[in-house]
Symmetry: C2
Subunit: 359 residues, 2 copies
């Protein structure tokens, strides 16, 4: 604000008067205000360093104002026109300011602004910017007063982040930059889905026992747990491959991080496999205590852990190899991977369990 | 170009001279040139309507040039500075033009431009814009001549599209706006993954027969096909839910289209189930002709079709209900859905097959 006053002293009196009519002197408090908003809200992502003008200002004077104010409002690509109560009534892009005569009043050129409440979700705000193809969206408080703006590029960043978030959530691996998080944290993020899968799989195994128990003897009883194996291996594999494919696109997984990412993901897969295998052993021996031999339950648990670790490795290696040889990882890592991990996981599970079980 | 000539006639002679030195008269041919590029390349997404200036032009004259040329170069937010051979040597944003003195030469203010070859992949171009936080990326031909530019918002649209594409590919449902495509086309897009799953599942069933065939009698033999059921139901369910969750975010699936989308996805699921069920019946009776009763193979096929249709319905209903009641569809549609579809698919498969099989 000091700089503004200094500059006003340098220009002529009539200019100063024009300028002062347009200046929003509360701008300086902007940065302090920003921290009051939810970071996921429109207020949280908005830029509060704006240049605002009144409707009767001439374009030439608006340009002068930007020359004075503009340095502090570098993030914006235009100016908002406000009424006496600081409510937004128009918007002019820098390009409009340049292409119109300096003698026109801003109200003759300005476009109707689109506004959103500062408390609204950032995704809603970004959606408005996209839908109306706005350069800037006006963010207003409860009284309709302009408190900031969301530019097109900020909106697109929000939409991109939300897209990644949605997909990582869909595969049960919710995280921001998942390959940069610690292994325990990654395991914690992804364990809920695996827990649900284990419980669902145990329920299926129990239903299969009720329906077909009399027909299942010896190793055939291992088949009841195949839904758990396929479910877990599928989850872990698709989590790793989704994280990698997304990481390739965002630049999170560069060539020099490939080995570190592979190591991290396989460790995560191993730990998830261990926890889920142990849970399967413990729960199934407890629930089916009178019919299931402990050795059988342990063999099932160990075989699950091996199959899940294997799936995590596949989920990393397939996209990494695809990138190396120049095949689109997304096409191959999905379909191919799911099937390969289903088959090899099942075979691995049966093989390991068979070795562990007394003949 | 006619308008430009008309305007030049209106301004003074000295201005005209300045302006002509800066004008790129080949601009008019821009739109025609654009169609020569691969639509997925930098040239295919670039904007070829640019205002270019020479390095010694003063900012005030650059602004005059934009006033004349600007209407046809509305997509841009700045100007490129080029050398005698039209190679880009600098960039100035509109905001820089506004905030600097009209007497400065553009070379004093301009920033170093970042360039990309017109044949480069659009994703690479978008990545450069994102990495260097550019307002505009210069697109050049083989001789280094400026042929167009990619603005930040276009780059972000490319990145968003690529993100959606990656994820739809990962779940084996590659498509642009999948809910707006015809049902046969959707089935065709998604069938390859299901085909791989059926073949993989049949391979697993065959391995299970070799390993455990002697232990499997009567209905227990149905268990060998559970990997196919879980695989297909999981694929179809996650395809539907991914398409819906993405459609919610992009506005492709609005409230008024919910029923149409549900109907379309369930029809797609039913057709995929029918095709895959029939394939399973045909292939397994052919391969295991001497051991498998035709009635058994038909029961397996029908049961698979029912379970897959059910999974497609779940894959739509779960996200739709989540949105209605205000729960994040992405969190629930992934983990919850996979497990529910695994269990209910298995139970449905066994139930339907059991009813169809002679006791």
């Amino acid at each position: 604000a000091d700089d503004v006053v200094d500059l006003l002293a340098l220009v002529g009196d009539d200019v100063t008067e024009e300028v002062l009519r347009g200046v929003d002197l509360e701008r300086a408090a902007g940065l302090r205000k920003l921290s009051r908003y939810d970071p996921e809200s429109a207020g949280g992502v908005m830029n509060s360093e704006l240049v605002t003008v009144s409707a009767d200002l001439r374009i030439g004077d608006a340009i002068k104002l930007i020359k004075i104010e503009g340095e502090e409002a570098e993030e914006t690509h235009g100016i908002f026109v406000v009424d006496e109560e600081d409510r937004p009534i128009g918007y002019l892009s820098d390009r409009q300011l340049i292409t119109h005569s300096i003698h026109e009043e801003v109200c003759e050129v300005m476009a109707q602004p689109v506004t959103i409440a500062s408390g609204a979700d950032q995704e809603e705000a970004a959606g408005l910017v996209q839908h109306y193809q706005l350069e800037e969206l006006a963010v207003v408080d409860a009284a309709g007063v302009l408190v900031g703006s969301i530019a097109a590029d900020d909106a697109h960043i929000v939409l991109e982040e939300e897209a990644s978030e949605d997909f990582l959530k869909l595969v049960g691996a919710p995280a921001d930059q998942p390959t940069r998080q610690s292994v325990p944290r990654r395991v914690r993020n992804r364990l809920p889905l695996q827990g649900v899968t284990v419980l669902g799989g145990l329920l299926t195994a129990w239903i299969l026992d009720l329906a077909l128990g009399e027909h299942l003897s010896g190793d055939a009883d291992l088949l009841r747990f195949i839904p758990i194996v396929i479910g877990l291996a599928g989850n872990v594999g698709i989590q790793s491959s989704t994280i990698l494919v997304r990481g390739f696109a965002t630049g999170e997984v560069e060539r020099d991080r490939e080995l570190a990412v592979l190591r991290g993901e396989v460790t995560v897969g191993f730990l998830i496999g261990l926890i889920c295998g142990a849970a399967t052993t413990l729960i199934s021996t407890t629930v089916e205590a009178d019919t299931m031999a402990p050795a059988f339950a342990v063999a099932v648990g160990v075989a699950i852990a091996v199959a899940v670790t294997w799936a995590a490795m596949l989920g990393c290696v397939v996209p990494l190899v695809c990138r190396r040889v120049g095949i689109d990882p997304a096409v191959v890592a999905g379909p191919f991977l799911i099937t390969v991990s289903d088959i090899s996981g099942t075979v691995l599970y049966l093989g390991v369990a068979h070795i562990l079980l007394p003949a």
